[in-house]
């Protein structure tokens, strides 16, 4: 009895803790500032998209959105392609190459990516890769390769060896086996890892903050940070911008929940 009361109270409190702030933000996108301050949880007086309109007209959120999409998609696609190739070698290699490769990439898991901000900054300044989306993509690839190799190679190693061997005996080369056997079988793992990487790239602040200062190259998290200064007290604008920045993630969460959760937990467990 006491257990039941305790359980239900705790569950309700935490559900409310998540739902209340989320509702304030969603409802706030339809409100004016005063309304947010006085009645944060009430339904908006007028349902209209004025905030979104103002944001698009003045806040310049379209370009950062585009930049974020470009950076995230290219970073993820290239990382997954490269990481799956490495993982294939790691899983299939009978020589020492595979082990050495795996060890090298594991090293990256021991050194947090944040540690490299200074050398990356100086290197990119020298190569004129700051203020470029291409530069950001390169950084993302380098930073996420270790964890991707870790997750995907673990999956490849679990695949039955015979499948590869049979194909090899039939005369298929490594490329062929990689493309028509390993990759199709690994689809669930690849999907989950992609989502995990997408979330990292979409949400990252540190590297863009350091490398990007031109307005037309900024990504969404960077724009949100600027917003805090620009619209110092305008929470309605801020909430609307947060909404725009979160919509792709929310849609992915709703429609691909299984891979989404699998990806984010695999990233934690394996990392």
């Amino acid at each position: 009895m006491i257990y039941k009361v305790f359980k239900n109270t705790m569950l309700t409190i935490f559900a409310a803790a998540v739902l209340v702030p989320s509702s304030i933000v969603v409802l706030g996108t339809f409100k004016e500032d005063v309304e947010i301050y006085t009645k944060p949880l009430a339904l908006p007086k007028h349902w209209n998209l004025n905030n979104f309109r103002t944001l698009i007209d003045t806040g310049n959120v379209i370009t950062p959105f585009k930049n974020s999409v470009i950076v995230a998609i290219f970073s993820v696609a290239i990382t997954i392609f490269f990481a799956s190739l490495v993982s294939y070698v790691v899983a299939r290699s009978v020589t020492v190459t595979g082990k050495v490769l795996f060890l090298l990439f594991s090293l990256g898991l021991a050194i947090p990516g944040q540690v490299n901000i200074i050398p990356i900054f100086t290197l990119f300044t020298k190569l004129h890769l700051n203020n470029s989306l291409f530069g950001l993509i390169l950084v993302n690839i380098a930073l996420t390769l270790p964890i991707s190799v870790f997750i995907i190679s673990a999956f490849f190693k679990d695949l039955p060896k015979e499948m590869f061997e049979v194909a090899s005996i039939d005369g298929a080369g490594h490329w062929r086996v990689y493309r028509s056997i390993a990759m199709p079988l690994a689809r669930p793992a690849i999907g989950a890892t992609s989502i995990f990487l997408f979330v990292i790239c979409w949400n990252d602040l540190l590297y863009p903050l350091m490398l990007i200062n031109e307005l037309d190259k900024k990504t969404l998290p960077l724009t949100l940070i600027d917003f805090r200064g620009e619209f110092a007290t305008s929470y309605s604008m801020l909430f609307t911008a947060i909404m725009v920045a979160s919509i792709p993630m929310v849609l992915m969460y709703v429609f691909m929940q299984r891979s989404f959760v699998a990806g984010l937990t695999a990233g934690a467990v394996k990392g």
């Binding site: 702030p21 989320s22 090298l104 540690v115 200074i118 390769l145 602040l205 929470y235 947060i242 934690a268």
Partner: protein, 282 residues
């Protein structure tokens, strides 16, 4: 086949990590010619830098609070939600939701909740007559670090719940049935079955959360930028400021080396204790 990945990784991960080691032995403002100073940066860091010590202590406190509470809540809610019933799945979905948001979004949402004048928390406290508790959460150096820690816990507890649920579902149901037949209370079942059986998962959750707290940057930067008076500064925000606000690149590099060593030490200690723990109870 592995060449492209290897090339990018070496050039943009391993090579920078090595240059970082070199930088840490230099006095360098990022522009003029670097000057070799040997281990001076490290000596200064460890013997004559009050700010650094303060930030290390901040980060350790932040780590302890977040690791203990996030792991505790994660396990608690996972024990409640282990079964795959409709309500449980729904609640897990809700709990996991914050995890998909960006640190910046979460930080800014909570900046509103904490706002001393208009914020939801203080407005609610005042509405129920608790005016005295309506503090300046982020603006007061006494509370800022804890306020950020609460946000971090809100942000990632759901993810830990999901990890724990996967672990708890592996525990054979017969164990609980037998315990129930013997008249074991909920608490006894938790203490003697759930906790020891979940230890491997706990080890994973604790290790992951610890590393997250020592890597923390985005959330702190979005909420307080380390202020007021460095009260919520953590290691990565300090490194960022040392390098890109103070232009002490060599010194900042030395700080990052310290960070790597600290993370390694903490992970090693945790592995040892959790393994011993595990061995004892098995």
């Amino acid at each position: 086949m592995a060449f492209p990945a290897f090339a990018i990784y070496s050039f943009l991960y391993l090579y920078p990590a090595l240059s970082n080691l070199l930088y840490s032995t230099q006095r360098w403002d990022g522009v003029t010619k670097p000057e070799f100073v040997g281990l001076k940066n490290f000596i200064h860091l460890l013997t004559d830098d009050d700010l650094f010590m303060k930030v290390v202590s901040n980060n350790i406190r932040f780590a302890i609070i977040v690791v203990v509470l996030q792991t505790g809540f994660g396990l608690l809610f996972a024990t409640f939600l282990t079964e795959n019933s409709k309500t449980n799945i729904f609640l897990r979905t809700i709990y996991f939701f914050p995890t998909i948001l960006s640190s910046v979004s979460v930080g800014l949402i909570w900046t509103f909740l904490y706002d001393p004048n208009y914020g939801f928390i203080n407005a609610t406290l005042k509405a129920i007559g608790l005016d005295k508790l309506a503090l300046n959460w982020l603006g007061d150096s006494k509370y800022s670090l804890y306020a950020v820690a609460v946000t971090q816990i809100w942000f990632h507890t759901g993810q830990m719940v999901v990890i724990y649920v996967a672990g708890l579902q592996q525990i054979p149901a017969e164990l609980y049935e037998a315990a129930e037949m013997d008249g074991a209370t909920r608490w006894q079942q938790f203490k003697n079955i759930t906790w020891p059986m979940a230890l491997p998962t706990t080890a994973v959750v604790v290790a992951y959360t610890t590393i997250q707290t020592f890597r923390a940057f985005d959330l702190v930067y979005a909420m307080t930028q380390g202020g007021p008076l460095n009260s919520s500064d953590v290691l990565v925000t300090l490194v960022y400021n040392t390098a890109f606000v103070g232009y002490k690149f060599g010194y900042a590099a030395a700080q990052t080396i310290f960070l790597v060593l600290l993370v390694m030490l903490v992970t090693w200690l945790q592995r040892r204790t959790l393994r011993i723990d595990y061995g004892d109870k098995k």
